[in-house]
Symmetry: C2
Subunit: 513 residues, 2 copies
Amino acid sequence: MNGAQALIRTFVDAGVDVCFANPGTSEMHFVAALDDVPEMRAVLTLFEGVATGAADGYARMTGRPAATLLHLGPGMGNGLANLHNARRGRAPMVNVVGDHARSHKRLDAPLESDIDAVAGTFSSWVRRSLSPADVAADAVDAVAAVGSGGIATLVLPADVSWEDGAEPAAPRSVRPAPQVAPSVVEGVAAVLGGDEPVVLLLGGDAVSEDGLLAAGQITAGTGARLMTETFPARTARGAGLPDVTRLPYPPEMAIAALAGTRHLVLAGATAPVHFFGYPGVPGHPVPEDCTVHLLSEPGEDGVAALRALAGLAAPDAEPVLIEASRPELPTGELTPRTMAAVIGALLPERAIVVDEALTSGVGLMELTSGAPRHDWLALTGGAIGDGLPMALGAAVACPDRPVIGIQADGSAMYTISALWSHAREQADITTIICDNGSYAILQHELSRVGAANDGERAATLLDLGGPGLDFVSIAQGMGVPATRATTAEELADQLRTALAEPGPHLIDAVLRS
Amino acid sequence: MNGAQALIRTFVDAGVDVCFANPGTSEMHFVAALDDVPEMRAVLTLFEGVATGAADGYARMTGRPAATLLHLGPGMGNGLANLHNARRGRAPMVNVVGDHARSHKRLDAPLESDIDAVAGTFSSWVRRSLSPADVAADAVDAVAAVGSGGIATLVLPADVSWEDGAEPAAPRSVRPAPQVAPSVVEGVAAVLGGDEPVVLLLGGDAVSEDGLLAAGQITAGTGARLMTETFPARTARGAGLPDVTRLPYPPEMAIAALAGTRHLVLAGATAPVHFFGYPGVPGHPVPEDCTVHLLSEPGEDGVAALRALAGLAAPDAEPVLIEASRPELPTGELTPRTMAAVIGALLPERAIVVDEALTSGVGLMELTSGAPRHDWLALTGGAIGDGLPMALGAAVACPDRPVIGIQADGSAMYTISALWSHAREQADITTIICDNGSYAILQHELSRVGAANDGERAATLLDLGGPGLDFVSIAQGMGVPATRATTAEELADQLRTALAEPGPHLIDAVLRS
């Protein structure tokens, strides 16, 4: 068999059986080989950022890597922003980047660029396959290298794909996450046993259901406060889980949230820093007299560490769990808050919420906290344009669960062609566009950085009007049924309808601020 | 003044007075400073690939760099594919990539990534501004470094932008292109004076009006054949210029075009290589017994070299010029060829044609060759999704000239939000979508690489149906008036109307193959 056939067979045998693809000429043998290995599901995207964002969403929901298929350096470049988000969220992913045939490489053809240098900036593992005989072993190494978190990038020359002489290779078992040493847990237990104010900050695997329940037991038994990092990759939420608030995004609010804390215990999270530096503001919200304790690093087994800690520090405590509750269905004006209330009132059980609402997300966490159990995917790396692709990946990962994308309008435009893939796959995704006609977050940021913001030309650059974006028309043009809501009642009606029908929908929620 | 103000003032003084921008938080002081330096025109794009592609188009039409404003590593990543095209076409460009404040850099905030490593892969000049006192001198160096070709990337930490203590700096004069040594010209003249078959292959500045006229004189006087590289950045075309054919894209056709050539003289072009390597095909079309002579390298003064060569090798010859002629307006079925005939029949004088037609471009060069004088911009680096952005940049550069984008459907989707900027700027751009509902080029390539192409799953991955893309709806959703043409008559009517009205239009040309 040729290299492409061996590669795909090896991926499938290693459990990588979904590939988000935007192929070009150098990937044609990979494409042809899909007919030889029908267990590999290939999902076509019209832009590589959709492929990489979808692989991120898939990984968050399954814990396993999907493959992406990207076309040389420019194709990888188009995928880079969402590769950044995936890296920041520690999603596992295996990229296959097609390249020129080995004999063609030195000719500096028009599509030649330094793939390896760029790949090195987001990958935890990079390799260039050098012969068909190697490619299966390379694939095994790639999958093993990412385990449950990290990005492997395999550069695949076209002739390594098309030449014969390849054979599949057997997968290696994935190493379980490293365990935290008992002495670390004992040290943190001692801190929790003291009199000083403690915040337990969760991220990564610690915001799973099991992590939250153990953390809730700890806080119930010790009086520590519970918080998650600002943008966890995937958070288990809803009635029956402990109440947990996020560390706020705005620096002044994050500083206030941690004020008075003397001990900050990190489980699956890194020490918090502000998203950006601002004039005259310290770079992070941790008080000067606060000691930071690392219970588990991202990638370690944080759930086991939390359980061990609960056993030491709060053996008999019961976590306080959120009771089922939903907001009343609001009426009248559609604002970020009434939008959040509609979503909280109607959120289905086992929903996957993809949150790229940004400034329009005010009230969203609060008004959905008592909804039935659901999972919440956030923008981990700050590279906007992750929402629509991530929803695709989550829907492919979990075809029996409804996906709801809450999507800022400006951000939606970076990867808008994802809607076509929503339609193509008939994915059960309802996208709610938070349509405020502006880069509202930048209007906030313009004043937050202390820049003079009374200038007309600056304001124009943050305004998405002139012309307004008609998301209904855009979505319909890509095959996604779409409606427009201008009141809370309309949003509720349209959301109910969309959730009741399988397949993709888009609701353009025209918001007043 | 602060760093941002000094930077923009310095750019403007150096002749860089257009900025294609997609800003974020770290660029807010740059945005605010636009109100202090009103000579800088800022053009908002909704995706960074639109900004970089527009800067490419602007540079091709003016010979001068535009600035881009990009948001950290992910924003630069989104711009990378069209930066690749610009690099391959030697367009001058100055990128400003905002970064975290210096104090924030070491905190590994969520948007942190290795900007410098990625920038190094496409830039001919990279620098990180380290203080407000430096930023103006950095800007001067950036503009001077690119001259008339090359990409400078200035990484601008947010606090270098916002801190005071900066002053504008005076521009340096741009160095003229290096001259080719007389001995080189004499050597080529001797080759042309011999009996063996010669092809004169033009690229870069040699496909300008002056370059073509000098080359036409040479070929008229010596019997050498005239050809251009496959995808020149900007070609002067139309009645009154010498006839010149492009070296074909398909390897077998390129090999046939150069068969029998004993001397290949390069003016502004590099020795041709095939776009991709294919099984069993040599990597380039130059015959084994052909000697390659370099008259002028890209970046050297090829026009002066051609004129000197004409003076030596063909002092009394007159170039053969194309007479004005247009195809008849076709009727009936809309095919790539009848589409080309409609365009040839109606192409206005001084039009700028942005050609990303790919497989639908069959007949386009032939049927427009006798049209009134126009310029033709091609996809230089093979990274698709350059057309819609490049049209924006060309229209900003030349507001008094009509821009016609001939745009493959699959490629259009990579940077589709460019249409919104077309509308926002009320740019005089008519986009004709070559709507064949497929990645037709990949269907060709699948068979060209010798991959088995009878598999259903492979075919599905190259098919853009299910659902079909409705470009009329998509364009209208972004504020661009749009119509659909299904016959040659409809296309002619709609193109006439679009050309008669100022501002952007889109015509979805539904093609039968």
